[in-house]
Amino acid sequence: MAATRTPPAPKGPPPAPAVQHLLVTYAKRGRMRFASHRDVGRAFERAVRQAGVPIARSAGFNPHPKISYASGTQTGVASEAEYLTLALTVAQDPARLGAALDSGLPDGIDVIEVREDSGGALNGRLTASEWLMELPGISSDAATAAVRQFLAAAAAPVERLTSKGVRRLDARGVVLTMDVSLRAFTGYSGECAIIRMVVRHSEPAVRPEDVLTALRQIAGLVPASAPAVTRVAQGVVGDGGLAGPVGQPVGQAALSPTAEHKDVP
């Protein structure tokens, strides 16, 4: 066979256009908080296939399903407020699709809500997160004192080791509010203070672990074992609180410009 052949082009018509965009709010909770963002992405791609969702695809030899993920929590960090958007070629009832999607996901990666969306980029609509950090072995008093010291600091330079070397960040500037809360997600027994905070998204991102590093450096706060960290809300900083990506109020934290901390009720 000496004949010269060019590689075959992808057969068939061009990919069908998207006619509907859906915004999916989902949680990464319990043991599934140990899943990485890539793991979560694979789980959703399979759930989309399993549910027969008419997902739009990119063109080319290896068409990709059009799923856009907002940046996720790191491995080990739980979330009640993750977001992704789906582009569909056939319009679907959001609630039904959400249920179908959820049934193909492992317990712990859970669809919370699906609603119609403009399809615009998520990043501009998600500019801050509210976090809860449960600190085993830390009393509420110690946490309250540490929060006070942290908020009083003008800056909190911390270092984090990344694959690209040591990164230097200011963990204080992006923290909009911080207080001590009683709301718990994972339920440690024993003394376990809970710090709640709202952190503005930044590049490079300041993670809850960076804030914990700062709390250790500034106030000597060292939990007895790994803190459980949960993102409880994500959105845009607005009057009085966080507004979700479609404008709905989310989260618990009050965001008055003067907010420093509230004492434990």
């Binding site: 066979m1 000496a2 004949a3 010269t4 052949r5 060019t6 590689p7 075959p8 992808p10 057969k11 068939g12 043991r31 599934m32 140990f34 899943a35 990485s36 890539r38 793991d39 694979r42 789980a43 791609e45 399979r46 759930a47 989309v48 296939r49 399993q50 549910a51 027969g52 969702v53 008419p54 695809r57 080319g60 030899f61 290896n62 068409p63 399903p65 491995t75 080990g76 056939v90 319009a91 679907q92 009832d93 039904r96 699709l97 179908a100 193909g104 996901l105 492992p106 317990d107 712990g108 990666i109 074992s225 790994a226």
Partner: protein, 652 residues
């Protein structure tokens, strides 16, 4: 009494280890049953990392077969990486299952699937973490503590002698029916009030022929170190234990609810075994020898399994598994009908094991139709025609060139070619011939496509002689010779600037193959070496970052001190016809004289062995001794046209 989950104690450790998601379970299609509603409970251990163990077909099949039964529970366990092992020891956590995080020590049976001998040290880690005494004879305490029966299976278990002292039993061959039969016997023994205790149960299992119980056999040695004889040491135990063979795979459609990992694993696809067994007769291939005869699944069963498995998993790829998938009597129809069924769904189809001489244009088209081309790997195994004749892998250079031309013409840009180094009678020239072959492959690809971006990767590893093959008598090539040939081949591949960048070269060092050789053809004395290596820290020996040849060599010296045998005796020594081999009392059905004659034919370059699927029986002995027969199509059936095998969400 319910057995408590160790997860609350494991969870705080997980932020401190790599890849924690591998330990949390909770995968789609995993099963957690009520402990107290069951009376026979299996922990299935794959003695390697989760990312390797999870896709293992054997474990997934047995997991489903067992969990389908009322009153039976099966959970999975995998080797933990050394970072978690250290933390578990520090915090007193036992080896656990990933399904309900129950301690492995609480189960009735710990079933261990060995795909490779390099998992033996990981078995010891798991036993030790589980609190199970390493030696089977230490599991019968008068105090009455129950330890699980430690039962091995899988291909490596066809010579379990090196780990015999650590095992209570071994299942040879296909596991589907065997695990259910063992389950029934355990239940009957429990219902009868556990007559004879642990020993009574093992005796009953051994007498039934279902289980090889090593401790019921004594091994005697000659002064020169060879085995004198292996004899049963109690009544009612068969002198030779035969393998299990499942006939009619259409009756055993597993897995249908494949476990979908959250973690990234080595294979992410729904795999269906399209046939079991292979009679091509490649002399190096243990899998082909011990899984005979060929038993095909019918095209309609395969279609039904794929439909169920893909619907239950959401996987993007279907793997058509077997030892040589293009040899299925209806492979073209299977590939075409599946490609039809999945047209437009972006589903990939892969044939992980494809013979050069069985690949064809139809397959090339169907495999690439979804627009997705998974990797194409062909295994000529030997670089020269002479070498391929010795190993009875009769693919010609023309076959190879024709096949890669088809592949490149169908849009593939890269093919991978797999070879072995250190084969019996091999010379430097045989290995260097691989370089010439690789160049011709590139040349053919460039001519067929008119493009320059054609690539081929040469992948080569050291040959390890395996039990129950015609090469079981062969001297293993020592690692210095293997490494020298691999270096020469590397230099030859790089020597021509016109091809240098088009040809990739991957090779495995010779040293790990020597240890694999020791573990493959070892006898019970090798158990001491394994224990010594494990005590010295050997873990994950199949992983180059953990493997230490020096450790194994030193431990072999120490553990075999005073014996007339050593590492070289087990590996680079040729055996003669009359030597009692450590696995001679374990019967894969192959006739001893046929194997020996085939070994002699290999050395003399006598006529090739054809495939008994298409030519008359060549008397390997398996079918008559095991009461089995070849089951192949064609059935003439097709998958229903126009069916969509993926669910379609109704338009609202």
């Amino acid at each position: 009494m319910p057995v408590e989950s160790v997860f609350p104690r494991l969870e705080p450790l997980l932020p401190r280890v790599r890849k924690p998601v591998a330990y949390v379970g909770g995968e789609v299609n995993s099963v957690v049953k009520d402990w107290d509603a069951t009376d026979v409970r299996w922990a299935l251990l794959y003695p390697d990392a989760y990312e390797v163990g999870l896709p293992n077909q054997g474990v997934q099949i047995l997991y489903e077969v067992l969990n389908e039964r009322d009153g039976v529970l099966a959970e999975r366990s995998y080797s933990v990486w050394p970072d978690l092992e250290a933390l578990m020891r520090e915090h007193g956590l036992p080896q656990f299952t990933v399904d309900a995080h129950r301690p492995v020590g609480a189960f009735d049976v710990l079933g261990v699937s060995f795909s490779t001998e390099l998992g033996y040290t990981n078995l010891l880690t798991a036993l030790d973490l589980a609190g199970i005494p390493l030696y089977s004879t230490d599991r019968d305490p008068a105090g009455g503590t129950w330890y699980p029966l430690v039962i091995a299976g899988g291909h490596a278990a066809f010579n379990p002698e090196p780990i015999a002292d650590f095992l209570d039993g071994v299942v040879l061959g296909d596991g589907e029916e065997a695990v259910l039969a063992v389950t029934d016997q355990i239940r009957a023994w429990k219902d009868a009030g556990r007559p004879g205790g642990r020993d009574g149960l093992l005796a009953a299992l051994a007498s039934s022929g279902r289980l090889y119980v090593p401790r019921f056999y004594d091994v005697g040695y000659l002064p020169d170190g060879r085995i004198d004889r292996v004899t049963p040491n109690r009544r009612g135990v068969p002198p030779v234990v035969a393998k299990h063979t499942v006939m009619d795979l259409d009756e055993w459609q597993y897995p249908t609810r494949p476990i979908v990992p959250v973690a990234e694993t080595v294979h992410e696809r729904y795999s269906v075994e399209i046939f079991r067994g292979c009679t091509r007769g490649c002399r190096f291939c243990q899998a082909g020898m011990i899984t005979r005869p060929v038993r095909e699944r019918s095209i309609t069963t395969i279609g039904a399994m794929v439909e169920k498995g893909m619907t239950a998993s959401g996987f993007q790829e279907v793997g058509l598994l077997s030892l040589s998938s293009a040899d299925h009597s209806e492979i073209n129809e299977i590939a075409k009908d599946l490609a039809d069924a999945y047209e437009g769904t972006n589903t990939g189809l892969s044939l992980p094991s494809t013979r050069v001489d069985a690949f064809n244009v139809t397959l090339a088209d169907e495999l690439s139709r979804g627009g997705r081309r998974s990797g194409l790997t062909f295994a000529p195994e030997g670089g020269s025609e002479r070498m391929r004749k010795v190993i009875n892998k009769m693919v010609t250079e023309e076959d190879l060139i024709r096949t890669v031309t088809t592949a490149y013409s169908s849009g593939w840009r890269q093919v991978k070619l797999y070879f072995m180094c250190g084969l019996p009678t091999e010379t430097d020239e045989d290995v260097l011939a691989i370089a010439g072959l690789a160049r011709k492959v590139i040349q053919a690809g460039r001519e067929a496509t008119g493009r320059r971006d054609i690539r081929c990767t040469v992948s080569i590893g050291g040959f390890v002689p395996k039990p129950h093959t015609p090469f079981q008598w062969a001297a293993q090539c020592d690692h210095e010779v293997v490494d020298a040939r691999l270096r020469k081949l590397g230099a030859a591949l790089r020597s021509d600037p016109g091809y240098g960048r088009a040809i990739g070269y991957r090779y495995h060092d010779g040293q790990p193959s020597v240890v694999e050789g020791l573990l493959s053809r070892g006898d019970r004395r090798v158990g001491r070496v394994i224990l010594a290596a494990w005590q010295d820290g050997a873990r994950f020996d199949g992983w180059s970052e953990y493997f230490s040849f020096d450790r194994w060599a030193a431990c072999a010296d120490k553990a075999l001190d005073g014996e007339p045998v050593d590492l070289a005796w087990y590996t680079t020594r040729e055996r003669d016809r009359d030597e009692v081999l450590p696995w001679d009392h374990l019967d894969a059905g192959l006739d001893h004289d046929w194997l020996w004659q085939d070994w002699q034919d290999a050395l003399s370059g006598a006529a090739e062995v054809e495939d008994c699927r298409w030519t008359p029986c060549y008397d390997c002995g398996v079918c008559p001794s095991m009461g089995t027969e070849i089951q192949t199509g064609p059935t003439g059936e097709r998958l229903p046209a126009g069916t969509r095998l993926l669910p379609v969400l109704n338009v609202s």
